[in-house]
């Protein structure tokens, strides 16, 4: 079920590991942590946008927000977002404002895509469970 996300690189093994945990302990865990991640992501993106709009950009500030996002995205297995963060960090270190703005747009785009994909995934899983089925564990 989550294969399409995995194959396109949206999520990696870390996400699979978390899904396996979901079956063994708290069933709402993955949905909960993913929602928390997107809330966090939105806040960080807004803060970064504001920082990049300033006349004199505080690249250290932007970098610390990127660092936060890098850590949380790797922890839930949001691979593509994590990869953009790596490039984003380099732009911050180079104090490259245009580069940073492009990276921020990419982060935003990847967040929206991932959110849509995961919402589809969770809906499908809900339907399966409601119909009396069970979700197979991904290898």
């Amino acid at each position: 079920m989550g294969v399409f996300g995995f194959e396109k690189g949206f999520v990696d093994n870390q996400f699979t590991q978390l899904q396996k945990l979901r079956d063994e302990s708290s069933p709402g865990f993955v949905v909960e942590v993913v929602s928390l991640f997107f809330e966090d992501c939105e806040k960080l993106v807004n803060n970064m946008a504001k920082a990049l709009e300033q006349q004199i950009v505080d690249f250290k500030q932007v970098d610390s927000h990127v660092h936060q996002l890098k850590g949380s995205s790797s922890s839930i297995g949001a691979a593509r977002i994590h990869n953009v963060c790596i490039a984003f960090k380099t732009c911050c270190e180079d104090q490259n404002r245009d580069g940073c703005v492009r990276c921020l747009q990419q982060v935003n785009h990847e967040c929206i895509q991932l959110k849509n994909n995961l919402q589809t995934l969770f809906k499908l899983e809900q339907q399966i469970v409601a119909a009396g089925g069970s979700i197979p564990a991904m290898q």
């Binding site: 302990s25 942590v33 928390l36 922890s75």
Partner: protein, 133 residues
Amino acid sequence: MTGGEENSDGGKTDFHVLVVDDSTVVRMVHRMLITSLGLKVQEAKNGKEVVDLHINGAYFDLIFMDMEMPIMNGPTATRELRAMGVKSNIIGVTSCTFESAHKDFIEAGLNHCVSKPLTIAMISSFLPDSNNK
């Protein structure tokens, strides 16, 4: 108690783990991974909370310490804990890929340093072979 939240699941062991990270998402993920292994886990948001927990008499068998945190970062907190005589196994966890950053953190008194993300395999590798069975 200031800072930590006790998540006692009536676990199979008396092995206490402390997760230290300023990101709520990261703490939540690490807590779930550790709980799934049947271990008891507590959380702290920064280095100062860790130090305060220990000043108040807490003890942990294993501590996962993030490197970059506000108020008090991982290396500083680690140095303080060691200065206080804390002998727990402290594992540094960092998003930083620079070798030099790992080296500084290790020199602060870590037993080991790993890169994010934490996985079950990694956590298991830091557990003793038998836990109070």
